[in-house]
Point group: C2
Chain length 319, copies 2
Amino acid sequence: MPTREAIRYWFKDLQNQICAKLEQADGGGKFISDAWERPGGGGGVSRVLAGGNVIEKGGVNFSAVWGKTPEATVKLLKLSSAGAVAPDFFATGVSIVLHPHNPMVPIIHMNVRYFEILPLSKNDKGTWWFGGGIDLTPHYVDEGDARYFHQQLKKVCDAHHPSYYKQFKEWADDYFFIRHRNETRGVGGIFFDYLKAEGALTKDARFEFVKSVGSAFADIYTYFMKKNHTLPFDERHKQWQYLRRGRYVEFNLVWDRGTKFGLETDGRTESILMSLPPQANWEYNHRPAAGSEEEKTITLLTKGIDWLGKIDARSGADA
Amino acid sequence: MPTREAIRYWFKDLQNQICAKLEQADGGGKFISDAWERPGGGGGVSRVLAGGNVIEKGGVNFSAVWGKTPEATVKLLKLSSAGAVAPDFFATGVSIVLHPHNPMVPIIHMNVRYFEILPLSKNDKGTWWFGGGIDLTPHYVDEGDARYFHQQLKKVCDAHHPSYYKQFKEWADDYFFIRHRNETRGVGGIFFDYLKAEGALTKDARFEFVKSVGSAFADIYTYFMKKNHTLPFDERHKQWQYLRRGRYVEFNLVWDRGTKFGLETDGRTESILMSLPPQANWEYNHRPAAGSEEEKTITLLTKGIDWLGKIDARSGADA
């Protein structure tokens, strides 16, 4: 059974591997490294790339933090009855958001995390779970790209459990949803949380799945970087990109549980808000022109699209 | 005693008067008018100015809405016990945010509002209250400007009650606070809520105060527009303005109760988010240069500054 130390070291190594692959694909930008400590226990390393060839602003965060479980977490998870001593927690994870220059390259987000509530006494076993996900936010939805993305995620999921992809794809649709806009953030992906031991899905098996998700990230995103970063664009596309980044800001600050929780429990602000874009714009009641690419994108920002079936049905191509 | 209709008409008229004065001071921009209806009852008129001479993007919202009290409001105000029928509500207000082009002109926000919970039965009296405030968010804090601003607010307050200014100035410091940055949003102002009848402070007296706040707004802001819009600035100042606007976005989307409540209860998104700037930027861990104007501004974004006493003490000028 993987120990918390083993998980932590694997995540730390993942951060390095991903940064190396992103730098290589970018061909210009270099990640700076910013280590920080958490007053209550633990800390992290934020790695940030600004002004690359492909990536305009991006961050790859690693953290491993521990200590007394914050009151908000105790309440959220209904961990202890009133007056009881709060247990200790341990949490580690890698979290990534990348904002590209070229509006034809999508924004991507990935997170893998492990959470543990330590036993309060000999009779208490404590508890642990894994969570994470990957989702893609194109400024312009390209159905082929969305399909490729979901195909890769399905492959990752299918290698671990036949129901993972369907379940976690639906969870992503529900989670990455900008309720006040009635829009999904992008074309979704997979999202999962509270993955505990359950029959054949042991702690080892859960960790192997999370490792596969983390390991798949760099190849998936560098594929889009390489394929799309030379596509032509003009000022109109940039303006649209800035508006879509505004929506990304809205999702992260209004609805994203991790961001809200971090900011409300005195997490490290600069690491949490690394996800925000270099520039975002807002226009009152912007409506894309009828028949435009921008309007088409809006119609595709909806829950429940079967990206694999959608295009297969149309083209008759490989399933 | 002012009826809800009287308050509503006064607010609607205030919107028109303010827009006319702002257009005159801007000398170029014109407010467009966008009327909307609320499915559950009532509606509003959003007036929006984009690309003026002085104002880059601004909105002056009026709304008057009513119907069944949203579940979230019932809970927030602890209005009824479980299972009881939710009462009807009526709410009307004017809300303004203006983002100027020139970084030397401050961002301003003003809101006046009236809320009423209608009686559920003959034995029930229902309840009502006024709320509102004005606060100033300079990109560069000019102590003379901050002092002038607070002097004007103190005059408005003092004409109605000797404790208003002190009480509402402290409330603004607490309310317009970006907790995750440990910074105030700007130089504060006044904030008040739940102003009910209380001794000599009758409903008439409360309404007269709110009217004074609303009526004071246009002169206060056009003073800054006229005085500062020709001040010189360069690209460095613009970049700082974009970063400060990023903080404004963070406050509004993470902490502002009105914004959060509106978005969570299916308010009209475009009217709620009219407060967002035309462009905002984020840089990882930005730190202003030592001794710079930008650094000075940061040191002044703190609670509890007595803007009136601060400068009086230094200059010995009029109190």
